[in-house]
Protein backbone atom coordinates (compact mmCIF):
# COMPACT_ATOMS: atom_id res chain seq x y z
CA UNK A 1 0.00 0.00 0.00
CA UNK A 2 1.48 3.35 -0.99
CA UNK A 3 1.97 6.02 1.63
CA UNK A 4 -0.35 8.50 -0.08
CA UNK A 5 -3.28 6.10 0.22
CA UNK A 6 -2.37 5.34 3.81
CA UNK A 7 -2.40 9.05 4.66
CA UNK A 8 -5.78 9.44 2.94
CA UNK A 9 -7.15 6.46 4.81
CA UNK A 10 -5.96 7.73 8.18
CA UNK A 11 -7.47 11.14 7.54
CA UNK A 12 -10.72 9.49 6.43
CA UNK A 13 -10.71 7.37 9.55
CA UNK A 14 -10.43 10.45 11.73
CA UNK A 15 -13.33 12.08 9.90
CA UNK A 16 -15.49 8.97 10.25
CA UNK A 17 -14.77 8.84 13.98
CA UNK A 18 -15.59 12.51 14.34
CA UNK A 19 -18.94 12.17 12.55
CA UNK A 20 -19.96 8.89 14.18
CA UNK A 21 -18.79 10.12 17.58
CA UNK A 22 -20.83 13.32 17.38
CA UNK A 23 -23.82 11.29 16.16
CA UNK A 24 -23.54 8.92 19.13
CA UNK A 25 -23.15 11.71 21.67
CA UNK A 26 -26.25 13.37 20.21
CA UNK A 27 -28.09 10.02 20.40
CA UNK A 28 -27.32 9.72 24.09
CA UNK A 29 -28.02 13.36 24.94
CA UNK A 30 -31.18 13.77 22.86
CA UNK A 31 -32.28 10.36 21.51
CA UNK A 32 -32.34 8.70 24.94
CA UNK A 33 -34.56 11.37 26.55
CA UNK A 34 -36.78 11.39 23.44
CA UNK A 35 -37.16 7.59 23.62
CA UNK A 36 -37.96 7.85 27.34
CA UNK A 37 -40.54 10.53 26.56
CA UNK A 38 -42.15 8.29 23.93
CA UNK A 39 -42.36 5.51 26.51
CA UNK A 40 -43.50 7.26 29.70
CA UNK A 41 -46.24 9.22 27.94
CA UNK A 42 -47.78 6.05 26.59
CA UNK A 43 -51.23 4.96 27.72
CA UNK A 44 -51.24 3.46 31.21
CA UNK A 45 -47.72 4.61 31.98
CA UNK A 46 -46.27 6.89 34.59
CA UNK A 47 -46.70 10.17 32.71
CA UNK A 48 -49.49 9.23 30.34
CA UNK A 49 -50.02 12.13 27.96
CA UNK A 50 -51.58 11.48 24.60
CA UNK A 51 -50.68 14.83 23.04
CA UNK A 52 -47.01 14.65 24.05
CA UNK A 53 -46.77 11.04 22.91
CA UNK A 54 -48.35 11.67 19.51
CA UNK A 55 -46.28 14.79 18.91
CA UNK A 56 -42.99 13.09 19.77
CA UNK A 57 -43.94 10.03 17.76
CA UNK A 58 -44.91 12.15 14.75
CA UNK A 59 -41.63 14.07 14.76
CA UNK A 60 -39.58 10.89 15.05
CA UNK A 61 -41.54 9.26 12.23
CA UNK A 62 -41.13 12.26 9.93
CA UNK A 63 -37.38 12.37 10.50
CA UNK A 64 -37.13 8.64 9.96
CA UNK A 65 -39.11 8.65 6.73
CA UNK A 66 -36.83 11.16 4.99
CA UNK A 67 -34.03 9.41 3.07
CA UNK A 68 -30.71 10.46 4.55
CA UNK A 69 -29.38 12.02 1.35
CA UNK A 70 -32.38 14.34 1.27
CA UNK A 71 -32.10 15.12 4.98
CA UNK A 72 -28.50 16.07 4.32
CA UNK A 73 -29.55 18.70 1.82
CA UNK A 74 -32.73 19.77 3.63
CA UNK A 75 -30.80 20.60 6.77
CA UNK A 76 -28.19 22.74 4.98
CA UNK A 77 -29.77 26.01 6.20
CA UNK A 78 -29.87 24.70 9.75
CA UNK A 79 -26.22 23.66 9.54
CA UNK A 80 -25.33 27.11 8.18
CA UNK A 81 -27.19 28.71 11.07
CA UNK A 82 -25.58 26.53 13.73
CA UNK A 83 -22.02 26.32 12.46
CA UNK A 84 -21.70 29.13 9.95
CA UNK A 85 -20.59 26.67 7.28
CA UNK A 86 -22.04 23.72 5.35
CA UNK A 87 -18.74 22.09 4.39
CA UNK A 88 -16.64 19.53 6.28
CA UNK A 89 -17.08 16.65 8.71
CA UNK A 90 -18.47 18.88 11.47
CA UNK A 91 -21.11 20.24 9.08
CA UNK A 92 -22.01 16.71 7.98
CA UNK A 93 -22.43 15.79 11.65
CA UNK A 94 -25.53 17.98 11.95
CA UNK A 95 -27.79 15.90 9.65
CA UNK A 96 -26.10 12.73 10.94
CA UNK A 97 -26.94 13.70 14.50
CA UNK A 98 -30.56 14.47 13.58
CA UNK A 99 -30.97 11.10 11.84
CA UNK A 100 -29.24 9.26 14.68
CA UNK A 101 -31.37 10.93 17.39
CA UNK A 102 -34.62 9.87 15.68
CA UNK A 103 -33.28 6.37 15.02
CA UNK A 104 -31.98 5.82 18.53
CA UNK A 105 -35.14 7.25 20.12
CA UNK A 106 -37.14 4.46 18.47
CA UNK A 107 -34.66 1.82 19.61
CA UNK A 108 -34.78 3.19 23.17
CA UNK A 109 -38.57 3.10 23.04
CA UNK A 110 -38.46 -0.50 21.85
CA UNK A 111 -36.09 -1.68 24.57
CA UNK A 112 -38.11 0.08 27.27
CA UNK A 113 -41.12 -1.86 26.01
CA UNK A 114 -39.36 -5.07 27.01
CA UNK A 115 -39.47 -4.13 30.70
CA UNK A 116 -42.10 -6.00 32.70
CA UNK A 117 -44.85 -3.53 33.56
CA UNK A 118 -45.14 -5.24 36.94
CA UNK A 119 -41.72 -3.95 37.94
CA UNK A 120 -42.83 -0.37 37.27
CA UNK A 121 -46.00 -1.07 39.23
CA UNK A 122 -43.93 -2.34 42.15
CA UNK A 123 -41.89 0.88 42.22
CA UNK A 124 -45.05 3.00 41.90
CA UNK A 125 -46.61 1.08 44.78
CA UNK A 126 -43.52 1.83 46.86
CA UNK A 127 -44.17 5.55 46.33
CA UNK A 128 -41.61 6.32 43.62
CA UNK A 129 -41.73 9.63 41.74
CA UNK A 130 -41.65 9.45 37.91
CA UNK A 131 -38.01 10.60 37.98
CA UNK A 132 -37.13 7.85 40.50
CA UNK A 133 -38.81 5.28 38.27
CA UNK A 134 -36.69 6.43 35.33
CA UNK A 135 -33.50 6.39 37.39
CA UNK A 136 -34.06 3.29 39.54
CA UNK A 137 -36.15 1.09 37.22
CA UNK A 138 -36.28 2.06 33.55
CA UNK A 139 -32.61 2.85 32.92
CA UNK A 140 -31.02 -0.07 34.85
CA UNK A 141 -33.56 -2.60 33.58
CA UNK A 142 -33.14 -1.62 29.93
CA UNK A 143 -29.38 -0.98 30.03
CA UNK A 144 -28.35 -4.04 27.95
CA UNK A 145 -31.00 -3.15 25.35
CA UNK A 146 -29.98 0.52 25.33
CA UNK A 147 -26.41 -0.52 24.67
CA UNK A 148 -27.41 -2.88 21.85
CA UNK A 149 -29.41 -0.02 20.34
CA UNK A 150 -26.41 2.27 20.56
CA UNK A 151 -24.31 -0.34 18.73
CA UNK A 152 -26.89 -0.59 15.94
CA UNK A 153 -26.98 3.22 15.76
CA UNK A 154 -23.17 3.36 15.48
CA UNK A 155 -23.18 0.89 12.59
CA UNK A 156 -25.94 2.84 10.83
CA UNK A 157 -23.99 6.05 11.36
CA UNK A 158 -20.93 4.51 9.70
CA UNK A 159 -23.14 3.72 6.71
CA UNK A 160 -24.82 7.14 6.63
CA UNK A 161 -21.47 8.91 6.96
CA UNK A 162 -20.49 7.57 3.51
CA UNK A 163 -23.01 10.03 2.06
CA UNK A 164 -21.41 12.90 3.95
CA UNK A 165 -19.08 13.35 0.97
CA UNK A 166 -21.87 15.29 -0.69
CA UNK A 167 -21.23 18.14 1.73
CA UNK A 168 -17.48 17.53 1.91
CA UNK A 169 -17.68 15.55 5.10
CA UNK A 170 -15.04 13.04 4.14
CA UNK A 171 -14.71 9.75 5.98
CA UNK A 172 -13.88 6.18 4.96
CA UNK A 173 -17.09 5.64 3.00
CA UNK A 174 -16.58 8.85 1.07
CA UNK A 175 -13.05 7.74 0.21
CA UNK A 176 -14.44 4.50 -1.25
CA UNK A 177 -16.92 6.41 -3.38
CA UNK A 178 -14.51 9.12 -4.59
CA UNK A 179 -11.50 7.00 -5.42
CA UNK A 180 -12.97 3.57 -5.99
CA UNK A 181 -16.22 4.45 -7.69
CA UNK A 182 -15.74 7.77 -9.49
CA UNK A 183 -12.05 7.21 -10.36
CA UNK A 184 -12.22 3.47 -11.07
CA UNK A 185 -9.40 2.75 -8.62
CA UNK A 186 -10.64 -0.71 -7.73
CA UNK A 187 -7.76 -1.37 -5.36
CA UNK A 188 -8.64 1.68 -3.24
CA UNK A 189 -12.29 0.74 -3.21
CA UNK A 190 -11.57 -2.81 -2.09
CA UNK A 191 -9.22 -1.66 0.65
CA UNK A 192 -11.63 0.96 2.01
CA UNK A 193 -14.56 -1.45 1.89
CA UNK A 194 -12.45 -4.01 3.78
CA UNK A 195 -11.60 -1.34 6.35
CA UNK A 196 -15.32 -0.57 6.72
CA UNK A 197 -16.13 -4.28 7.19
CA UNK A 198 -13.51 -4.58 9.94
CA UNK A 199 -14.74 -1.35 11.57
CA UNK A 200 -18.37 -2.53 11.65
CA UNK A 201 -17.35 -5.96 12.98
CA UNK A 202 -15.32 -4.41 15.78
CA UNK A 203 -18.11 -2.03 16.76
CA UNK A 204 -20.78 -4.75 16.69
CA UNK A 205 -18.72 -7.35 18.52
CA UNK A 206 -17.62 -5.06 21.31
CA UNK A 207 -21.16 -3.68 21.66
CA UNK A 208 -22.57 -7.21 21.95
CA UNK A 209 -19.93 -8.20 24.48
CA UNK A 210 -20.58 -5.17 26.67
CA UNK A 211 -24.32 -5.72 26.50
CA UNK A 212 -23.92 -9.38 27.46
CA UNK A 213 -21.81 -8.44 30.45
CA UNK A 214 -24.57 -6.15 31.71
CA UNK A 215 -27.36 -8.64 31.13
CA UNK A 216 -28.43 -10.31 34.37
CA UNK A 217 -31.29 -12.36 33.00
CA UNK A 218 -29.25 -15.54 32.53
CA UNK A 219 -28.79 -17.96 35.42
CA UNK A 220 -24.99 -18.01 35.49
Amino acid sequence: MDSELLADLLKAFGETFEMVGIGLVASLLLGLPLGLLLYVTERGLILENRLAHLTASFIVNVLRSIPFVILLVLLLPVTQLVLGTTIGPLAASVPLAVAAVAFYARLVHASLWEIERGVIEAATAAGATPLQIVRLVLLPESLPGLLRGLTVTAVSLIGFSAMAGIVGGGGVGDLAIRFGYYRYETKVMVITVLVLIVLVQVVQTSGDAASRRLDRTSRD
Binding site: E121, A122, G127, V137, P140, L143, S218
Partner: protein, 326 residues
Protein backbone atom coordinates in the same frame (compact mmCIF):
# COMPACT_ATOMS: atom_id res chain seq x y z
CA UNK B 1 -58.19 0.64 59.38
CA UNK B 2 -58.98 0.20 55.69
CA UNK B 3 -62.46 1.14 54.65
CA UNK B 4 -63.95 0.97 51.18
CA UNK B 5 -67.39 2.48 50.92
CA UNK B 6 -69.59 2.04 47.87
CA UNK B 7 -66.59 1.85 45.58
CA UNK B 8 -67.11 1.40 41.86
CA UNK B 9 -64.39 1.16 39.22
CA UNK B 10 -65.43 1.67 35.62
CA UNK B 11 -62.86 1.32 32.86
CA UNK B 12 -62.77 3.38 29.69
CA UNK B 13 -64.38 0.56 27.71
CA UNK B 14 -67.41 0.81 30.03
CA UNK B 15 -66.58 -2.39 31.88
CA UNK B 16 -67.22 -2.25 35.61
CA UNK B 17 -64.50 -4.26 37.35
CA UNK B 18 -65.67 -3.37 40.85
CA UNK B 19 -69.33 -2.66 41.56
CA UNK B 20 -70.50 -0.81 44.67
CA UNK B 21 -68.16 -2.61 47.07
CA UNK B 22 -68.04 -1.80 50.76
CA UNK B 23 -65.48 -3.43 53.03
CA UNK B 24 -64.03 -2.77 56.44
CA UNK B 25 -60.67 -4.24 57.29
CA UNK B 26 -59.59 -4.04 60.93
CA UNK B 27 -56.09 -3.26 62.16
CA UNK B 28 -53.94 -6.35 62.54
CA UNK B 29 -56.22 -8.83 60.79
CA UNK B 30 -55.51 -10.97 57.73
CA UNK B 31 -58.30 -10.26 55.29
CA UNK B 32 -58.79 -12.52 52.29
CA UNK B 33 -60.44 -11.60 49.01
CA UNK B 34 -61.34 -14.71 47.09
CA UNK B 35 -62.97 -15.31 43.73
CA UNK B 36 -62.36 -16.69 40.27
CA UNK B 37 -60.13 -14.85 37.81
CA UNK B 38 -61.74 -11.79 36.30
CA UNK B 39 -63.91 -11.24 39.37
CA UNK B 40 -62.24 -7.88 40.05
CA UNK B 41 -60.05 -8.96 42.99
CA UNK B 42 -56.83 -7.41 41.66
CA UNK B 43 -58.61 -4.16 40.82
CA UNK B 44 -60.08 -4.13 44.31
CA UNK B 45 -56.77 -4.54 46.10
CA UNK B 46 -55.18 -1.86 43.89
CA UNK B 47 -57.73 0.62 45.19
CA UNK B 48 -56.13 0.45 48.62
CA UNK B 49 -52.82 1.94 47.41
CA UNK B 50 -54.50 3.84 44.59
CA UNK B 51 -52.71 2.02 41.77
CA UNK B 52 -56.33 2.08 40.67
CA UNK B 53 -58.50 5.11 41.32
CA UNK B 54 -62.18 4.56 42.11
CA UNK B 55 -64.71 5.99 39.66
CA UNK B 56 -66.95 6.64 42.65
CA UNK B 57 -66.95 5.89 46.35
CA UNK B 58 -64.37 6.45 49.06
CA UNK B 59 -61.19 4.65 50.07
CA UNK B 60 -60.34 5.48 53.68
CA UNK B 61 -57.19 4.60 55.55
CA UNK B 62 -57.36 5.38 59.26
CA UNK B 63 -60.46 7.40 58.51
CA UNK B 64 -58.85 9.62 55.86
CA UNK B 65 -60.27 9.45 52.32
CA UNK B 66 -57.25 9.03 50.05
CA UNK B 67 -59.12 8.57 46.79
CA UNK B 68 -58.34 12.10 45.54
CA UNK B 69 -54.77 12.24 46.84
CA UNK B 70 -52.12 13.33 44.32
CA UNK B 71 -48.36 13.78 44.15
CA UNK B 72 -46.35 13.75 47.35
CA UNK B 73 -49.41 13.19 49.54
CA UNK B 74 -50.22 10.03 47.60
CA UNK B 75 -46.62 8.80 47.60
CA UNK B 76 -46.46 9.24 51.38
CA UNK B 77 -49.52 6.98 51.77
CA UNK B 78 -48.02 4.41 49.41
CA UNK B 79 -44.82 4.22 51.46
CA UNK B 80 -46.93 3.02 54.40
CA UNK B 81 -48.39 0.18 52.31
CA UNK B 82 -46.24 -2.73 51.12
CA UNK B 83 -47.28 -4.84 48.16
CA UNK B 84 -46.44 -8.41 47.15
CA UNK B 85 -47.16 -9.50 43.59
CA UNK B 86 -47.93 -12.83 41.93
CA UNK B 87 -44.68 -12.87 39.95
CA UNK B 88 -42.66 -11.02 42.60
CA UNK B 89 -41.94 -8.26 40.01
CA UNK B 90 -38.27 -7.93 40.89
CA UNK B 91 -35.74 -5.85 38.96
CA UNK B 92 -33.90 -8.42 36.82
CA UNK B 93 -30.85 -6.18 36.64
CA UNK B 94 -30.44 -5.88 40.40
CA UNK B 95 -29.33 -8.29 43.14
CA UNK B 96 -31.62 -9.49 45.91
CA UNK B 97 -29.99 -6.88 48.16
CA UNK B 98 -30.66 -4.01 45.75
CA UNK B 99 -34.22 -5.18 45.12
CA UNK B 100 -34.99 -5.13 48.83
CA UNK B 101 -33.25 -1.74 49.10
CA UNK B 102 -35.44 -0.21 46.37
CA UNK B 103 -38.27 1.15 48.59
CA UNK B 104 -35.66 2.54 51.01
CA UNK B 105 -33.89 4.35 48.16
CA UNK B 106 -37.25 5.63 46.95
CA UNK B 107 -37.97 6.90 50.47
CA UNK B 108 -34.58 8.65 50.41
CA UNK B 109 -33.13 6.78 53.41
CA UNK B 110 -29.41 7.33 54.02
CA UNK B 111 -26.92 4.73 52.81
CA UNK B 112 -25.80 3.43 56.27
CA UNK B 113 -29.43 2.83 57.24
CA UNK B 114 -30.04 0.87 54.02
CA UNK B 115 -26.89 -1.21 54.55
CA UNK B 116 -28.06 -2.12 58.04
CA UNK B 117 -31.74 -2.66 57.24
CA UNK B 118 -31.52 -4.84 54.11
CA UNK B 119 -29.62 -7.78 55.70
CA UNK B 120 -32.19 -7.71 58.53
CA UNK B 121 -35.02 -8.01 56.02
CA UNK B 122 -33.31 -10.79 54.07
CA UNK B 123 -32.82 -12.66 57.34
CA UNK B 124 -36.50 -12.19 58.17
CA UNK B 125 -37.46 -14.09 54.99
CA UNK B 126 -34.67 -16.65 55.33
CA UNK B 127 -32.48 -15.44 52.47
CA UNK B 128 -29.52 -13.88 54.26
CA UNK B 129 -27.16 -16.02 52.17
CA UNK B 130 -28.57 -14.83 48.85
CA UNK B 131 -28.00 -11.07 49.06
CA UNK B 132 -25.65 -11.01 46.06
CA UNK B 133 -27.79 -13.28 43.85
CA UNK B 134 -29.75 -11.96 40.89
CA UNK B 135 -33.44 -12.90 40.41
CA UNK B 136 -32.61 -15.24 37.52
CA UNK B 137 -30.39 -17.23 39.89
CA UNK B 138 -33.17 -17.70 42.46
CA UNK B 139 -36.08 -20.15 42.53
CA UNK B 140 -39.69 -18.95 42.29
CA UNK B 141 -40.15 -19.27 46.02
CA UNK B 142 -36.93 -17.41 46.76
CA UNK B 143 -37.93 -14.62 44.37
CA UNK B 144 -41.23 -14.29 46.20
CA UNK B 145 -39.33 -14.11 49.51
CA UNK B 146 -37.29 -11.23 48.10
CA UNK B 147 -40.57 -9.62 47.00
CA UNK B 148 -41.95 -9.98 50.52
CA UNK B 149 -38.77 -8.54 52.09
CA UNK B 150 -38.98 -5.60 49.67
CA UNK B 151 -42.64 -5.00 50.57
CA UNK B 152 -41.70 -4.86 54.26
CA UNK B 153 -38.63 -2.66 53.80
CA UNK B 154 -40.15 0.61 54.96
CA UNK B 155 -41.97 -1.10 57.89
CA UNK B 156 -45.43 -0.48 56.43
CA UNK B 157 -48.67 -0.73 58.44
CA UNK B 158 -50.43 -2.61 55.67
CA UNK B 159 -49.27 -5.45 53.43
CA UNK B 160 -51.21 -6.11 50.23
CA UNK B 161 -50.64 -9.55 48.66
CA UNK B 162 -51.93 -10.03 45.13
CA UNK B 163 -52.07 -13.78 44.45
CA UNK B 164 -48.79 -14.28 46.35
CA UNK B 165 -48.66 -18.05 45.78
CA UNK B 166 -50.45 -18.51 42.47
CA UNK B 167 -47.25 -18.88 40.45
CA UNK B 168 -45.77 -21.41 42.89
CA UNK B 169 -45.97 -25.17 43.32
CA UNK B 170 -47.79 -26.76 46.26
CA UNK B 171 -44.78 -27.14 48.53
CA UNK B 172 -43.45 -23.65 47.88
CA UNK B 173 -46.96 -22.28 48.39
CA UNK B 174 -47.04 -23.88 51.83
CA UNK B 175 -43.67 -22.36 52.78
CA UNK B 176 -44.66 -18.88 51.57
CA UNK B 177 -47.95 -19.09 53.47
CA UNK B 178 -46.07 -20.19 56.58
CA UNK B 179 -43.74 -17.21 56.11
CA UNK B 180 -46.67 -14.78 55.74
CA UNK B 181 -48.35 -16.22 58.85
CA UNK B 182 -45.07 -15.95 60.75
CA UNK B 183 -44.54 -12.34 59.65
CA UNK B 184 -48.08 -11.50 60.64
CA UNK B 185 -47.41 -12.89 64.10
CA UNK B 186 -44.09 -11.07 64.47
CA UNK B 187 -45.03 -7.71 62.98
CA UNK B 188 -48.77 -7.54 63.75
CA UNK B 189 -49.19 -6.04 60.30
CA UNK B 190 -52.59 -5.70 58.64
CA UNK B 191 -52.68 -8.00 55.62
CA UNK B 192 -54.98 -8.12 52.61
CA UNK B 193 -54.56 -11.31 50.59
CA UNK B 194 -56.03 -11.77 47.13
CA UNK B 195 -56.33 -15.36 45.97
CA UNK B 196 -58.34 -17.79 43.90
CA UNK B 197 -57.22 -20.67 46.10
CA UNK B 198 -59.47 -21.53 49.04
CA UNK B 199 -56.49 -23.33 50.60
CA UNK B 200 -54.76 -19.96 51.01
CA UNK B 201 -57.80 -18.44 52.68
CA UNK B 202 -58.06 -21.44 54.98
CA UNK B 203 -54.39 -21.29 55.89
CA UNK B 204 -53.89 -17.66 56.84
CA UNK B 205 -57.01 -15.49 56.72
CA UNK B 206 -59.16 -14.33 59.62
CA UNK B 207 -61.96 -12.88 57.56
CA UNK B 208 -62.78 -13.14 53.91
CA UNK B 209 -64.80 -11.45 51.17
CA UNK B 210 -66.05 -13.51 48.24
CA UNK B 211 -66.08 -11.68 44.91
CA UNK B 212 -68.01 -12.51 41.79
CA UNK B 213 -68.40 -10.30 38.71
CA UNK B 214 -67.21 -7.20 40.56
CA UNK B 215 -69.56 -7.66 43.53
CA UNK B 216 -68.68 -8.78 47.01
CA UNK B 217 -71.34 -11.45 47.43
CA UNK B 218 -70.44 -12.49 50.94
CA UNK B 219 -68.06 -11.49 53.71
CA UNK B 220 -67.36 -12.69 57.20
CA UNK B 221 -65.07 -14.87 59.31
CA UNK B 222 -63.35 -17.62 57.34
CA UNK B 223 -64.82 -20.29 59.58
CA UNK B 224 -68.35 -19.06 58.86
CA UNK B 225 -67.70 -19.17 55.14
CA UNK B 226 -66.53 -22.76 55.23
CA UNK B 227 -69.11 -23.96 57.73
CA UNK B 228 -72.14 -22.15 56.37
CA UNK B 229 -71.62 -20.39 53.03
CA UNK B 230 -74.67 -18.27 52.27
CA UNK B 231 -74.35 -17.20 48.63
CA UNK B 232 -74.66 -19.96 45.98
CA UNK B 233 -71.29 -18.90 44.53
CA UNK B 234 -69.55 -19.25 47.90
CA UNK B 235 -71.29 -22.57 48.42
CA UNK B 236 -69.85 -23.77 45.12
CA UNK B 237 -66.38 -22.50 46.06
CA UNK B 238 -66.47 -24.21 49.43
CA UNK B 239 -67.96 -27.40 48.02
CA UNK B 240 -65.10 -27.62 45.56
CA UNK B 241 -62.54 -27.64 48.37
CA UNK B 242 -64.44 -29.77 50.87
CA UNK B 243 -66.21 -32.04 48.43
CA UNK B 244 -65.75 -35.77 48.79
CA UNK B 245 -66.75 -38.15 46.08
CA UNK B 246 -67.60 -41.75 46.69
CA UNK B 247 -66.96 -44.35 44.03
CA UNK B 248 -70.32 -45.43 42.55
CA UNK B 249 -69.42 -49.08 43.00
CA UNK B 250 -69.09 -48.64 46.74
CA UNK B 251 -72.56 -47.06 46.99
CA UNK B 252 -74.19 -50.13 45.43
CA UNK B 253 -72.89 -52.47 48.07
CA UNK B 254 -73.70 -50.30 51.09
CA UNK B 255 -76.49 -51.07 53.47
CA UNK B 256 -78.78 -48.48 54.89
CA UNK B 257 -79.70 -44.91 53.88
CA UNK B 258 -76.71 -42.97 52.52
CA UNK B 259 -76.34 -39.43 53.82
CA UNK B 260 -73.75 -36.74 53.38
CA UNK B 261 -73.36 -34.60 56.44
CA UNK B 262 -71.53 -31.31 56.71
CA UNK B 263 -71.04 -30.52 60.37
CA UNK B 264 -69.24 -27.99 62.45
CA UNK B 265 -68.35 -28.28 66.09
CA UNK B 266 -70.22 -31.41 67.17
CA UNK B 267 -67.47 -33.97 66.96
CA UNK B 268 -69.54 -36.66 68.66
CA UNK B 269 -72.52 -36.33 66.32
CA UNK B 270 -72.32 -39.86 64.91
CA UNK B 271 -72.02 -41.68 68.22
CA UNK B 272 -74.77 -39.45 69.65
CA UNK B 273 -77.20 -40.30 66.87
CA UNK B 274 -76.33 -43.97 67.04
CA UNK B 275 -77.09 -44.08 70.77
CA UNK B 276 -80.15 -41.80 70.73
CA UNK B 277 -81.92 -43.40 67.79
CA UNK B 278 -80.63 -46.96 67.99
CA UNK B 279 -79.29 -47.15 64.45
CA UNK B 280 -76.05 -48.52 63.08
CA UNK B 281 -73.80 -46.05 61.30
CA UNK B 282 -71.45 -47.17 58.56
CA UNK B 283 -68.86 -44.47 58.03
CA UNK B 284 -67.93 -44.56 54.34
CA UNK B 285 -65.86 -41.48 53.88
CA UNK B 286 -64.90 -38.52 55.99
CA UNK B 287 -62.78 -35.44 56.23
CA UNK B 288 -62.42 -32.97 59.05
CA UNK B 289 -60.61 -29.69 58.61
CA UNK B 290 -59.78 -27.19 61.30
CA UNK B 291 -60.36 -23.61 60.28
CA UNK B 292 -59.38 -21.03 62.82
CA UNK B 293 -59.26 -23.85 65.38
CA UNK B 294 -62.83 -25.04 64.72
CA UNK B 295 -63.63 -28.33 63.00
CA UNK B 296 -65.54 -28.35 59.71
CA UNK B 297 -66.27 -31.89 58.64
CA UNK B 298 -67.79 -33.67 55.71
CA UNK B 299 -68.92 -37.23 56.29
CA UNK B 300 -70.62 -39.77 54.08
CA UNK B 301 -72.32 -42.50 56.06
CA UNK B 302 -74.90 -45.22 55.71
CA UNK B 303 -77.63 -45.34 58.38
CA UNK B 304 -79.00 -48.80 59.01
CA UNK B 305 -81.99 -49.78 61.09
CA UNK B 306 -85.75 -50.11 60.77
CA UNK B 307 -87.63 -47.39 58.89
CA UNK B 308 -88.96 -45.25 61.83
CA UNK B 309 -85.55 -45.29 63.52
CA UNK B 310 -83.75 -44.22 60.37
CA UNK B 311 -86.29 -41.40 59.92
CA UNK B 312 -85.73 -40.28 63.51
CA UNK B 313 -81.99 -40.44 63.05
CA UNK B 314 -82.21 -38.33 59.86
CA UNK B 315 -84.24 -35.72 61.74
CA UNK B 316 -81.76 -35.77 64.62
CA UNK B 317 -78.87 -35.15 62.27
CA UNK B 318 -80.70 -32.49 60.27
CA UNK B 319 -81.34 -30.53 63.45
CA UNK B 320 -77.65 -30.46 64.28
CA UNK B 321 -75.82 -30.41 60.97
CA UNK B 322 -76.37 -29.81 57.31
CA UNK B 323 -77.46 -32.88 55.37
CA UNK B 324 -76.47 -32.41 51.78
CA UNK B 325 -77.90 -35.54 50.23
CA UNK B 326 -80.34 -38.08 51.58
Amino acid sequence: MIELSNVTVRFAAGVEAVKDVSLNIARGEVFGIVGTSGAGKSTLVRLINLLQRPTSGAVRIDGVDISRFEGEELRAVRRRIGMVFQDANLLASRSAFDNVALPLRIAGRPRPEIDARVPELLKLVGLEEKARFFPAQLSGGQRQRVGIARALATSPDILLCDEPTSALDVETTASILALLADLHRKLAITMVVITHEMAVVKAICDRVAVMKDGHVVEQGPVYELFAAPKHPFSQALVARTLDLRLPEKLLDGTRGRIVKIVFRGQESLLSDVSRECDVRIHLLLGNVEYIGGHPVGTLVAGIEGDQPRVERAMKYIEERAEVVRG
